[in-house]
């Protein structure tokens, strides 16, 4: 019998016993098989074996009560923007804004007796915000207050706060607004008032001696809409580096003259606020104040109104939602509100893109903003059909709100929702919209799972 060479034998067999070869083979097979496989979520074979124990339906027949709420006031102090002007709105009546502020105390260098007053102006810079038709000529005035701006123990000043002021303006300005040119300043000449201050400075008057005396002497100022013909509200930056009273003078030398200016800046920011005037006469909202500041959409032409600084907010309640509690074993997987703006309501004024929902109660208080599961404020999704206006609508996911309301197996009708803007926009803009209440009505779409 021939004896095999042990070394040779080992070599012959090494290919078969070499694991990496088998390993590569396994990898190859695995790869080929995996690639040619049906994706897990496309696999359908066996669907005749399964028996559903869950049933999903969409219910959108819940009744929704829609109304408009008028908030008492909105805190407007310290926003850094002075809103000035007014306009008329077919849906909302006439709206105007006046802006109150103080100047800051400063000590004044001695001015030579020979100095000659030239002119004085309040100088302002556009904030970039405007609402209404800014292509028309605008007139604004600046008036001096006859009483000091007093917080009266509160933290804020409100859209309905007001202080007495002299009806004779210190100065008036007619201009075409350029709200988007932030490097352009607008000045209102106040020569008589400026000359008076200039003389106080030359005389080193005692009213300039301390901050209290100074502020008590000047009190404050209000920029008012100088005309009922204004077509827009325009914003100016109200802070110490953008709003000044400037006094210009010169000193004659032997051969030439030297120009000088004195600048008194904007003062305390917590005393700057915008006071909003509105008049609903000849609109659907005419009776809202006599109706306890809430009026059902049935009485306002099946519409509900939102306007930020005015404090008009649409409110919704769900009077029949507790009916789902009649069933056992259900879950609300998704609850969605869908509503449209009135088609003819946004030709002149743009629609707000982001709406926020706030919880409210019997007293129509603006409570917590609705948040998603991560604690972020929920925002409506918005679809705009600019051309035909047929497909313009808002949708809002209120699943969390509805499910939280149901956790105690009771749905309180008084727990409604206010539709509004975010806090900053609410207190510093005039964004508005009109919600359609009937064609089509506001809809609550519930994805209802029973099992």
């Amino acid at each position: 019998m021939k004896v095999l060479n042990p070394g040779k034998k080992y070599k012959e067999l090494s290919i078969l016993t070499d694991i990496p070869v088998w390993f590569l083979f396994a990898i190859f097979i695995t790869t080929v098989f995996t690639i040619s496989c049906t994706e897990a979520d496309k696999f359908t074979i066996g669907d005749n074996f399964v028996e559903s124990q869950t049933n999903l339906k969409i219910i959108d027949t819940f009744k929704i009560d829609l109304s408009t709420v008028l908030l008492d006031s909105i805190a407007t102090s310290g926003t850094g923007v002075a809103l000035v002007g007014g306009y008329e709105d077919e849906e909302f009546g006439t709206i105007g804004s006046e802006s109150y502020f103080e100047l800051a105390y400063r000590t004044f260098d001695d001015v030579e007796d020979l100095a000659i007053f030239d002119s004085a102006s309040f100088v302002m810079v556009y904030s970039g915000y405007s609402y209404g038709d800014t292509t028309s000529l605008m007139k604004i005035s600046i008036n001096q207050l006859t009483e000091s701006i007093d917080l009266d123990g509160n933290s804020y000043l409100y859209s309905n706060s007001a202080f007495d002021y002299s009806q004779v303006p210190l100065g008036t300005r007619l201009f075409y607004p350029e709200p988007h040119s932030s490097d352009t300043s607008l000045s209102i000449q106040v020569n008589d008032f400026g000359n008076k201050i200039f003389n106080l400075i030359i005389d080193q008057d005692k009213n300039l001696a301390t901050s209290d005396l100074f502020l008590d002497y000047l009190k404050g100022f209000v920029i008012t809409s100088g005309s009922s013909d204004n077509r827009a509200v325009v914003g100016f930056l109200a802070d110490e580096s953008h709003l000044f009273l400037k006094i210009y003078y010169h000193i004659d030398q032997e051969t030439s003259s030297e120009d000088h200016e004195i600048s008194i800046p904007f003062g305390a920011s917590n005393k700057q606020f915008n006071s909003i005037q509105y008049d609903f006469t000849n609109t659907e909202l005419d009776n809202i104040k006599s109706d306890n500041n809430e009026v059902s959409s049935d009485e306002t032409g099946n519409k509900a109104y939102l306007q930020a600084l005015v404090g008009l907010l649409p409110k919704i309640n769900f009077p029949t939602l507790q009916n789902v509690l009649l069933e056992n074993n259900w879950k609300i997987l998704k609850a969605e509100l869908i509503f449209e703006p009135v088609k003819t309501s946004y030709d002149l004024f743009p629609l707000p893109e982001k709406l926020y929902f706030y919880e409210t109660d019997k007293l129509n208080r603006l409570n917590a903003v609705l948040k998603d599961a991560n604690g972020d404020a929920l925002i409506t999704s918005f679809t705009l059909d600019d051309l035909y206006k047929e497909e313009t609508y808002y949708t809002f996911d209120i699943t969390t709100f509805i499910n939280e309301e149901f956790t105690d197996s009771y749905f309180d009708y008084e727990h409604g929702l206010l539709i509004a803007l975010n806090g900053t926009e609410l207190k510093s803009t005039l964004e508005r919209m009109v919600i359609e209440g009937k064609k089509p009505p506001i809809k609550l779409k519930i994805y209802y799972l029973s099992y």
């Binding site: 034998k9 080992y10 067999l13 078969l16 016993t17 694991i19 990496p20 088998w22 390993f23 396994a26 990898i27 097979i29 695995t30 098989f33 995996t34 040619s36 496989c37 049906t38 897990a40 979520d41 496309k42 696999f43 359908t44 074979i45 066996g46 669907d47 005749n48 074996f49 399964v50 559903s52 124990q53 869950t54 049933n55 999903l56 339906k57 969409i58 219910i59 959108d60 074993n329 879950k331 997987l333 998704k334 599961a373 699943t399 969390t400 499910n403 994805y447 799972l449 099992y451």
Partner: protein, 407 residues
């Protein structure tokens, strides 16, 4: 003889294992939605390449878990450790549709050794039945003309942790017994990813069971004959059910169901002929599922019958023992399963072949086997599964009582 395993061999093995383990389901068959799922059979390792045949085979190079009496064949000087993984490619064919899936996982872990001259024991974990399916349907949303993707899925099964002994009553007769701890969970769920909900029905199963085996050998004309018998009295499983509904924000516990699950009574008989290193065997095994009701109107149960045969022969011819010798194996299996779905019996048939490859000495073996088969039927809107399974089973042995001399 005692050359340690080459490191790269081990590394390769574990790499294969990781690749296989990346896909987690142990089975994938929509048929496993019924009852206890797919009954796996106790065939592991070398017997997998022989149509799952082995009731009459004794354990030797690798552990044979088909019959506890087979432990009586374990060598007194070595302990055996085994680990098996598999990868299975299945295509599912209805009369008008075809889809496919690949799944892979660990199959079993087992150890065996002799504790006394007449007693050898083995323990390990092997599956009894497995459930794994994922069926997507387009479900209507009532009150609209919309549909959503609803997924029915199931996973789990019954595992066996067994501890068994084979006792050599005489030189030719071995009696074996396994104490089996049956345990597992069966989860069936219905869910939607887009609307984020899941209705889950989870059942914990457990009980302790015994099964028995006998093996008798005799010689006729220099052929060694082995006859094996197995018996299992069956056992009702203790169940505990938990039903929950899960949504994005809530998890509610629902009224639990009561399910009755049972391991059926089992009989099996096998015959093996051996001459030198050549082996042939055949099995018949019956499980009395008939009358076990799984409370599903689509499902009827019948007794399952398994028939198989297998052959093993060495690579270098009989009488040429060598440390580099391979064993080749082939076999076939037919099983009329316990399932009759919508009046259609579900039958399983496969052929298999493979080899036992020594690694780093004759004591360590990799058993590779490829099984090609079919399950089910296209009748009555059902589907036929064509599958191809690669089993990679590692059998490691170590001397316990012998001092190494050649290191």
């Amino acid at each position: 003889m005692c050359k340690p395993l080459k490191i790269y061999n081990l590394l390769s093995f574990f790499l294969v294992f990781i690749v296989f383990n990346a896909s987690s389901q142990i089975t994938s068959s929509p048929y496993s939605i019924f009852g206890l799922g797919c009954v796996e059979g106790n065939s592991i390792g070398a017997t997998k390449a022989m149509g799952g045949t082995g009731i009459a085979f004794m354990s030797g190079h690798s552990i044979n878990t088909l019959n506890p009496a087979s432990y009586g064949g374990l060598d007194s000087l070595v302990n055996v450790f085994e680990l098996g993984v598999f990868g299975k490619y299945t295509s599912y064919n209805t009369s008008n549709n075809s889809q496919s899936f690949f799944n892979a996982n660990i199959k079993y872990v087992a150890m065996g050794f002799r504790v006394a001259p007449k007693l050898a024991i083995s323990f390990g974990i092997i599956p009894y039945s497995t459930i794994g399916y994922n069926i997507n349907t387009a479900a209507p949303i009532e009150g609209s003309n919309l549909e959503y993707l609803k997924t029915f899925s199931g996973e789990g099964g019954v595992n066996q942790f067994y501890l068994g002994g084979g006792y050599n009553i005489t030189k030719d007769l071995v009696f074996g017994i396994n104490a089996v701890y049956l345990f597992g969970t069966v989860t069936h769920s219905e869910s939607s990813e887009s609307l984020y909900y899941s209705l889950q029905d989870l059942t914990y199963l457990s009980n302790i069971n015994l099964n028995y085996g006998l093996n008798y050998k005799f010689m006729v004309n220099s052929w060694k004959y082995n006859i094996g018998l197995i018996y299992d009295n069956g056992k009702a499983l203790r169940t505990k059910n938990e039903s929950t509904i899960i949504t994005e924000t809530e998890t509610d516990v629902l009224k639990s169901h009561s399910y009755k699950y049972k391991i059926p009574q089992t009989f099996g008989i096998g015959l093996a002929l051996e001459k030198d290193l050549f082996k042939i065997g055949m099995d018949y095994e019956m499980k009395k599922w008939k009358g076990i009701d799984f409370n599903n109107p689509l499902l009827e149960t019948r007794n399952s019958n398994r028939y198989s045969f297998g052959v093993e022969f060495p690579s270098q011819g009989i009488r040429k023992r060598s440390s580099k010798m391979l064993f080749y194996r082939f076999g076939a299996e037919y099983c009329g399963s316990y399932l009759i779905i919508d009046k259609v019996p579900i039958n399983y048939r496969s052929i298999s072949f493979g080899a036992g490859l020594p690694v780093g000495g004759i004591l360590n073996v990799i058993n590779l086997s490829l099984e090609l088969g079919q399950n089910g039927s296209k009748k009555e809107g059902l589907f036929k599964e064509n599958f191809c399974t690669l089993h990679v089973d590692l059998s490691l042995k170590d001397h316990w009582f012998v001092k190494r001399k050649y290191d």
